[in-house]
C-alpha cells in the first residue's frame, strides 16, 4: 500500500505541475500574443482616446459602424458590443474602459428587453474574460456572477478554467495565437457586419417591464460617480409588436432614452427580426449621427 501511496503522490505531483505550467503558458499567450477574441482586441486598446464608445449586445456589434462615423464626422469611435451581452456585461466593459485607461467623451449604451434580464450575462464574453480572472476585480466579479458554481475552481485551481472552456480558450486558440494567425474580430473597430435577409414573422417584446435592473442602477451610479456622459438608446427592431408598448414603458424607467426601435422599417435593412444587416447598419449609423449630433 505504501508503494501505491508513493505512486499516487507521483501522479498528483505530475498533474499539479502540468496544471501550473499549462496555466502559466496559456495565460501568457492569451495576455501577450496577438489578440484573437473581441475582448482581447478591446484590451489592446489600452491608453487610447475615442470620442464615442458604443456598448451593448450584438444589436450594437452588428449595427453600428465606427468607420462610417469617422468618415462622416471625423470623430473617432469604437464599437464594444458583445454578442448576447446583458447589462451586467455592459457594466463590466464600462468599468474596464477606465481600468485600461481608454478615454472617451461619451458612451452610448444600447438597452431594450435586456432590462428585464437582470440575472443574465453573455456566455461568449464570459468565455473571453476567463483567462484574465486574476487581472482585475471587475472581471473576477463578473466571472462569479456568470458561473458562481465554478467560480472558486476557475479562480484558484490552476488550469481548471482552461479545461472547462477548452473549446474557446483551449489548445486550438493557443496554437493559433502562437502562430500569430490573424483574427478578423476587430477589423472594423468592433463592428461585425451581417449579410443576408432572413426576416420572418413578428418580433415579440415582453409585455411587462421589470421594476428595476440592478446593473442599470450600477451603470447610472458609476457614471455619476465617475462623471461619465452616458446616453441610453434602443436599436431598431424589424417589426415590433406594438401592442405591448414595451419601449414606451421602458422610457418611464430610463429618462432620456433615445428610442430608435421603430426608425427603420424596411425589411431590406434586417438580417433577422432584431439584427440589422450591413445595409441596415449603414442606415442606422447615419441616423445616429444625425439624431444624436455625433
Amino acid at each position: 500500500m505504501r508503494n501505491l501511496a508513493t505512486y499516487i503522490l507521483k501522479l498528483v505531483v505530475m498533474v499539479v505541475l502540468c496544471s501550473y505550467c499549462f496555466d502559466f503558458i496559456y495565460t501568457q499567450i492569451h495576455t501577450s500574443f496577438v489578440p484573437k477574441t473581441k475582448f482581447q482586441h478591446f484590451k489592446a486598446l489600452k491608453n487610447q482616446r475615442f470620442d464615442y464608445v458604443f456598448l451593448g449586445s450584438s444589436r450594437v456589434e452588428n449595427g453600428i459602424s465606427p468607420e462610417i462615423i469617422k468618415n462622416k464626422t471625423g470623430k473617432s469611435s469604437v464599437n464594444l458590443g458583445f454578442q448576447a451581452s446583458k447589462l451586467s456585461d455592459v457594466y463590466l466593459i464600462l468599468q474596464l474602459l477606465d481600468a485600461y485607461h481608454i478615454s472617451y467623451k461619451k458612451v452610448f449604451i444600447q438597452i431594450d428587453y435586456i432590462f428585464n434580464m437582470e440575472g443574465g450575462s453573455s456566455n461568449i464574453l464570459s468565455y473571453e474574460i476567463l483567462p484574465f480572472i486574476h487581472e482585475n476585480e471587475a472581471i473576477s466579479k463578473q466571472c462569479l456572477f456568470h458561473d458562481p458554481e465554478n467560480f472558486w475552481c476557475n479562480k484558484y485551481l490552476p488550469f481548471y478554467r482552461y479545461c472547462r472552456t477548452s473549446q474557446k480558450n483551449g489548445i486550438r486558440e493557443v496554437v493559433s495565437k502562437t502562430i500569430k494567425k490573424k483574427s478578423a474580430a476587430f477589423d472594423q473597430l468592433g463592428y461585425a457586419p451581417l449579410s443576408g435577409n432572413f426576416v420572418n414573422g413578428k418580433f415579440m417584446l415582453p409585455k411587462k417591464v421589470a421594476s428595476t435592473n440592478k446593473f442599470y442602477n450600477e451603470i447610472v451610479s458609476y457614471a455619476t460617480t465617475h462623471r461619465k456622459s452616458v446616453v441610453f438608446f434602443t436599436a431598431p427592431f424589424r417589426f415590433v409588436n406594438q401592442s405591448s408598448n414595451y419601449i414606451q414603458k421602458l422610457e418611464t424607467k430610463i429618462p432620456n432614452l433615445k428610442n430608435f426601435s421603430n426608425e427603420l422599417q424596411n425589411d431590406a435593412y434586417f438580417q433577422n427580426n432584431n439584427h440589422l444587416n450591413h445595409t441596415g447598419a449603414v442606415a442606422f449609423t447615419t441616423l445616429l449621427i444625425e439624431k444624436l449630433n455625433l
Binding site: 501505491l4 505530475m14 479545461c163 489548445i171
Partner: protein, 477 residues
C-alpha cells in the same frame, strides 16, 4: 455520476480507502461496502430506478435457487421462464414498448386504419440492458446446470450491481465474476498500478479522442445537407473513432477501477480497428456482448453445427438481435443487418475464422496485404456506423446520397468554427500509439513508463474536452 467527472474523482478514492482500510476484515465486509457504493453510484443517475435494480437482483437470486432446488423438469422450466419473461418484460416495457407501439401504428396507418396508441413517457433506466443480461446469463447457466445457484445474497447482489460495470458493462458471467467476489481480495500493488494506467488511458480515449471527435461528428451529422463529400467522409470517420474512444475508454476505466478493488473484469475491446476482416472485428469489438450472444443465442439456435442455411439464418438472427439490443430504432436494426451482410461472404467461404492469430506485421507484400485488409474492414465498418449514428434510416440514406453525389472535396469550415479535417492529425497519432502497443492491456506500463504517463496527463489536460460533452454513448443502451 460520470467516470470523467469530479464527482467520480472524489467517490473513487473514498470507496478505495474505506475498502482497503476500514472494510477489509473479510470478504463480506468488502462486498457489503461495494454494494452500498454501487447503489449510491446508481442512485446518482436516478434513484427512482434503484428499485428495478434491486428487484432484478431479488428475482434472479430467488429463481436461480428455485431452479436448482427443483428436480422436476416442469418446475425448473416454470422458474426459468418466469425469470426470463420478467427480465425481458422489464426490458421490453422500458426500452422497446414505444418503438413497437409506434411501428405498429405506422403499419396500420399504411393499411388505412387509424390507431392512437398509448405511449409511455419514461426515460430508459440507465444500464438496464447490461444488468438484465447479467441476470439472464446467470439464470440460463443454472438452468443448463453449468453453474450452481449462489446462495449468498450479498455476493450475488455484488455480481449484478458492481458499480464499475453497472451502467455500461462489460457484461460479466457468473463463472468469471462470482468466484472472485466469493473470496477476500488482497491488495496487489502491481494490479492496482495497472488499474490506474488503464483508467488514465481510458480517460485519454474518452476526453481526448471520443469527445473531440464528437464535436466534429455531431456538426457533420446534424448538418448533413450543408456538407460536401469530404466532410461527410470525415464525419463518418470521426464518429467511428468517437464511438470507439467512448465505449472502449469507458471499458478501460471500468476495468481499471475494478482492478483497484482486486477484481478482474472481462476484456471488452481488443483493438477492433486493426481487424483484418469483419469476423475478426466482431471478435474484438464489445467482446462481452458478442460472446454473450454467441453462448446464449447462437449456440442454442444450433450455431454452426447445422448446414450452411442454418448458419446463415443464425448469423442474421444474431446480428439483428445485437442491433436491436442497442436501441429501439430501425437504424440499429439496419446496422445489424449490414454487419450480417458483411459477414455472409466469410461464412459462405468458410473464412470467418481465418484471422484468429495476432497481427504480425512485416514490411513485405504480406504486410501490405494486412494493411489493406485492415483499411478495408475499417471502411466498411465506418460505413455501417453511419446507420448507427443517424437519427433515422432516411437520414442515413440522405447522408450516403450526399456523400456519393456531392463530389466536392474542398475543406469546409464547420459551424463550430473548425475546419473539418483538422482532427485527422490527432487521430493519426492515436492510431499509431495503439498500433505500437496492440499486444498490451494498456499502453502506459513498460519502457518509458513515466514519460508515457506524463504525456497522457498532458494530453488529458490540454487536449481533453471537459465542458459540453460528458455522456458516454453506451449509457443510453
Amino acid at each position: 455520476m460520470f467516470f470523467n467527472s469530479l464527482h467520480f474523482a472524489a467517490f473513487l478514492p473514498i470507496v478505495f480507502i474505506l475498502y482497503w482500510f476500514v472494510f477489509n476484515k473479510n470478504k463480506s465486509w468488502q462486498n457489503s461496502l461495494l454494494i452500498v457504493a454501487s447503489y449510491y453510484f446508481y442512485a446518482c443517475w436516478d434513484w427512482h430506478f434503484l428499485f428495478l435494480l434491486v428487484f432484478s437482483t431479488f428475482l434472479d437470486y430467488f429463481t436461480g435457487i428455485m431452479i436448482e432446488k427443483n428436480e422436476t423438469a416442469s418446475k425448473r422450466k416454470f422458474w426459468f421462464w418466469l425469470s426470463i419473461s420478467i427480465n425481458l418484460g422489464f426490458l421490453g416495457v422500458f426500452k422497446y414498448y414505444n418503438f413497437f407501439a409506434t411501428s405498429f401504428t405506422e403499419l396500420l396507418t399504411g393499411f388505412g386504419f387509424k390507431v392512437h396508441p398509448t405511449l409511455i413517457e419514461v426515460i430508459l433506466p440507465v444500464g438496464i440492458s447490461f444488468y438484465t443480461f447479467h441476470g439472464l446469463s446467470y439464470v440460463i447457466d443454472i438452468y443448463y446446470k453449468r453453474i450452481k445457484a449462489e446462495t449468498n445474497f450479498i455476493d450475488y447482489s455484488l455480481f449484478v450491481s458492481y458499480f464499475p460495470l453497472l451502467v455500461a458493462g462489460p457484461i460479466e458471467r457468473a463463472t468469471h465474476l462470482l468466484p472472485q467476489v466469493k473470496v477476500k481480495r488482497e491488495f496487489n500493488f502491481e494490479k492496482a498500478k495497472e488499474g490506474i494506467h488503464q483508467i488514465i488511458w481510458g480517460l485519454v480515449k474518452k476526453v481526448v479522442i471520443a469527445d473531440s471527435c464528437a464535436m466534429y461528428a455531431n456538426e457533420v451529422f446534424n448538418h448533413t445537407e450543408q456538407m460536401n463529400s469530404l466532410s461527410l467522409v470525415l464525419g463518418a470517420i470521426y464518429f467511428a473513432f468517437q464511438i470507439y474512444g467512448d465505449f472502449s475508454g469507458y471499458s478501460d476505466i471500468a476495468l481499471g477501477t475494478s482492478k483497484l478493488f482486486g477484481i478482474d473484469l472481462l476484456k471488452n475491446f481488443n483493438f477492433p480497428y486493426f481487424s483484418r476482416d469483419i469476423a475478426e472485428f466482431w471478435r474484438r469489438w464489445h467482446i462481452s456482448l458478442s460472446s454473450w450472444f454467441r453462448d446464449y443465442l447462437y449456440i442454442p439456435l444450433g450455431g454452426s453445427k447445422g448446414g450452411k442455411w442454418m448458419q446463415v439464418r443464425n448469423t442474421f438472427i444474431i446480428f439483428l438481435v445485437s442491433g436491436f439490443w442497442h436501441g429501439a430504432n430501425w437504424t440499429f436494426i439496419a446496422w445489424g443487418l449490414i454487419n450480417a451482410i458483411y459477414f455472409l461472404p466469410l461464412l459462405l467461404l468458410n473464412k470467418n475464422r481465418s484471422n484468429l492469430e495476432d497481427i504480425a506485421f512485416k514490411w513485405n507484400a504480406q504486410g501490405m496485404q494486412t494493411i489493406l485488409n485492415i483499411l478495408f474492414t475499417f471502411t466498411i465498418t465506418t460505413f455501417a456506423w453511419i446507420f448507427f449514428r443517424a437519427k433515422s434510416i432516411s437520414d442515413a440514406l440522405l447522408y450516403l446520397k450526399n456523400m456519393f453525389t456531392n463530389l466536392n472535396f474542398d475543406i469546409q469550415y464547420l459551424n463550430n468554427e473548425r475546419y473539418a479535417p483538422e482532427l485527422l492529425l490527432l487521430i493519426g497519432v492515436f492510431v499509431l500509439f495503439e498500433w505500437f502497443h496492440k499486444y498490451k492491456t494498456e499502453p502506459i506500463s513498460g519502457k518509458y513508463e513515466n514519460i508515457k504517463l506524463l504525456l497522457c496527463i498532458m494530453a488529458i489536460l490540454a487536449l481533453g474536452v471537459f465542458s459540453d460533452y460528458k455522456e458516454f454513448i453506451y449509457f443510453q443502451f
